[in-house]
């Protein structure tokens, strides 16, 4: 499990090496700038007062730094008639995202595993058919889905929303795992079978532990998609059970009212924090060598 035994492939020495490293960091830095500029603008705006923004300096640095907008976004901005900020809606998002991500990831892993390592006739066709679900426009499934949830008695509830996310996440989770497992040597599986391990035994003891990078990208994807979903959130939840994205939209959107850009920016960053935390935590598992220990068979 040593992660640095073969960190990169490039192994050079001397001045040429130094030059290459400098160039490497320079390039990485330029891209960092491209990705960061909008965030810098957002943070700068969130620290300005509304008067300063109205004076017309949208892209300059704040003259008087104030954290009022952040406080307001967190606990006193109006989301409809309730003026408690985004705070109360975080729990709804957690109650939705945790089961939805967990279930869809596990099912996707099982699917991918069964479709690649226990190939049966028609497995590829089934995979292709499941995969095509990734392209169905969410706008068209809204109404039949609403009816189905109504019939199931899940309309306007968080379990209903979880169900929707699991179903439409399946295409992606299956895709990630199937394409990861196809690269895993079948020798390991055969060896385990000879040792007497069964379908689930091999899955939980051998396959899952070595697929951490795939789990990471799947969780990042599902978490982001579900957390940032707005359409399903508005269509399948009611009022107090709205996820935080819907609340964020409610803070930000005004048809004929005064636009508070500073609060909008702060609210958007606050709403993104849990997702960012997932990126950081999950990112720790982006390591090489996980498959090394398992190949011993």
């Amino acid at each position: 499990m040593s992660r640095n035994n073969l960190g990169g492939i490039v192994q050079q020495k001397g001045t040429r090496h130094l030059m290459m490293r400098t160039l490497l960091f320079l390039t990485l830095g330029v891209f960092c700038l491209y990705y960061l500029i909008p965030l810098i603008v957002m943070i700068a705006t969130s620290l300005k007062s509304l008067e300063e923004i109205r004076a017309g300096s949208l892209l300059s640095l704040p003259q008087d730094v104030t954290f009022d907008a952040w406080a307001k976004a967190w606990s006193s901005a109006c989301v409809g008639v309730r003026c408690d900020g985004l705070k109360p809606f975080f729990w709804n998002s957690v109650a939705m995202v945790v089961p939805a991500v967990t279930i869809s990831t596990i099912l996707g892993a099982l699917n991918g595993y069964a479709l690649t390592k226990w190939r049966f006739p028609g497995a590829d066709i089934i995979f292709a058919l499941i995969l095509f679900g990734a392209f169905i426009p969410f706008q068209v499934i809204l109404l039949p889905m609403a009816r189905t949830l109504g019939v199931l008695g899940l309309a306007g509830t968080i379990p209903g929303l979880v169900l929707v996310h699991v179903i439409y996440g399946l295409a992606f989770t299956t895709l990630f795992f199937r394409n990861f497992f196809i690269g895993v040597s079948s020798g390991i599986i055969q060896a385990a079978q000879i040792d007497g391990a069964g379908f689930f035994g091999i899955f939980f003891r051998i396959v899952l532990p070595m697929s951490l990078p795939a789990v990471v990208v799947t969780v990042i994807w599902q978490y982001t998609q579900i957390c940032n979903d707005f359409l399903f959130g508005i269509a399948f939840t009611v009022g107090d059970s709205n996820p935080v994205t819907v609340a964020l939209n409610n803070v930000v959107n005004t048809s004929t009212g005064v636009k508070e850009y500073n609060v909008d920016m702060a609210a958007a960053i606050i709403a993104a924090l849990p997702t960012l935390a997932v990126y950081v935590i999950a990112g720790a598992y982006f390591v090489r060598g996980l498959s090394a220990g398992a190949v011993k068979g």
Partner: protein, 417 residues
């Protein structure tokens, strides 16, 4: 599948769903898109008034796209079989839903409180389906307003607010000569359409407006007056700065506020932006109706959906009465920046622009010059409005000729009917 079931159950217990209990005076669940700032406060007034009568208010705020997101949710809710009690829904949209048979009548309340006598007839008709009230209006917004910065006008030697489009053009040319942007405008389809309909009113008066934009009369749509209206719109395109595309309306208002631009043509919600910045009407900014001696009406209303259960129906009736009560109409509209939908409410606490709006409204009713706004979904079905908006915004952003615009518009309208 066990895991799925279990997780569903767990998350069900984690979250409280829907209404907890019902009050003595009924329950309402209100779907609306007034979710932030002053608009949310205005709805808050309604909630407080409702709760003061021991009712239970369940709030379902869904903002986005000027109500599009809320309409999306509404469809899902109706199809799933649990519609909200009251929905912020306006204009001919009310009739569209009524035809689907999913609305409840509140005519009993309307009759006992005599709504017919206090609402402008044009507005009252919009609130009814087959003669019975199914919706209640909360306010009246005037669309044909022109906002101006007096200092900018002074600098350009413009002495008074224009009362015809020719005067407007003359004033705009003067502004341009001294390097001030004549017209602050945001290039979003609904803003383009707002300017367009105000231009039509100024060129052809309430008659042309009504024939072309409300009754969709093909002759009127292809008339010379309409061509003249597009000509004027083309002129106004020249008075807009280069960076107008996609600009939010409030940023355009900011340009007028700072004197970077002379005029803005926008409904009276723009006033809220001026007032929020501490500007005084008549001193720091001017308001005047756009040419045409008419009144382009925009009104928000709550529409009542078919709910079941005594509490919900009771709540619906109470809410309808509350919305139309003079006290509520006054407090709500002070918060929202519009004027009451009832014409008999005292306007003592309102500002000068609102007073002007009210006077003009009464005059327009008298002279039959009150017209419903096309751009703001008061006049025609949303499908046809969509065609108008597509065409107008395309005209504004291309070099299409006025003749071509008129012909394409007439064809598109015929297609959508």
């Amino acid at each position: 599948m066990n895991i799925l079931k279990k997780a569903l159950m767990v998350s069900a217990t984690l979250t409280t769903i829907g209404p907890g209990f019902a009050g003595a005076e009924g329950t309402v669940e209100v779907l609306h898109w007034w979710t932030s700032g002053g608009e949310a406060k205005a709805v808050g007034e309604l909630k407080d008034a409702f709760e003061a009568q021991d009712g239970t208010w369940i709030d379902s705020p869904i903002a986005g796209g000027g109500g599009d997101a809320a309409m999306t949710a509404l469809r899902a809710r109706v199809i799933a079989g649990n519609p909200p009690t009251a929905v912020q829904l306006k204009g001919p949209g009310i009739q569209e839903w009524a035809r689907e048979g999913v609305l409840n009548s509140v005519d009993a309340v309307a009759q006992s409180e005599n709504w017919d006598a206090v609402l402008p007839p044009v507005l009252a008709d919009i609130m009814k389906y087959e003669g019975a009230y199914v919706a209640a209006p909360v306010n009246i917004h005037r669309v044909d307003w022109m906002w101006a910065n007096p200092k900018a006008l002074e600098a350009a030697g413009v002495t008074q607010m224009p009362t015809t489009w020719d005067e407007f053009n003359a004033a705009a040319d003067k502004l341009m000569a001294v390097g001030i942007v004549p017209l602050a405008h945001g290039g979003q389809p609904w803003q383009d359409a707002t300017v367009f309909e105000d231009v039509v009113l100024g060129i052809g008066g309430a008659d042309l407006f009504r024939k072309a934009l409300v009754e969709l009369d093909q002759d009127a749509l292809q008339s010379d007056m309409m061509i003249a209206a597009f000509d004027q719109l083309r002129k106004m395109r020249g008075y807009v700065d280069d960076n107008f595309s996609g600009r939010d309306w409030n940023l355009a208002t900011g340009m007028v506020m700072r004197g970077e631009a002379g005029f803005q043509i926008m409904g009276d919600w723009a006033k809220g932006e001026f007032l929020a910045a501490g500007k005084v009407p008549g001193v720091d900014f001017l308001c005047a109706p756009t040419p045409g001696n008419g009144f382009v009406l925009n009104s928000d209303s709550f529409t009542f959906f078919q709910v079941e259960g005594e509490e919900n129906i009771a709540g619906q009736q109470v809410l309808a009465g509350l919305i139309m009560s003079p006290e509520f109409q006054e407090t709500f509209n002070l918060a929202k920046g519009s004027i009451p939908a009832r014409t008999d409410v005292s306007l003592e606490s309102f500002d000068a622009c609102a007073l002007r709006s009210h006077e003009d409204l009464l005059a327009a009713i008298e002279n039959d010059a009150l017209v419903p706004s096309m751009a703001h979904e008061m006049a025609i079905p949303r499908s046809i409005r969509g065609e108008f908006i597509d065409l107008v915004t395309n005209f504004f952003n291309s070099d299409m000729s006025s003749e071509e615009a008129v012909q394409s518009l007439a064809a598109a309208v015929a297609r959508a009917q």
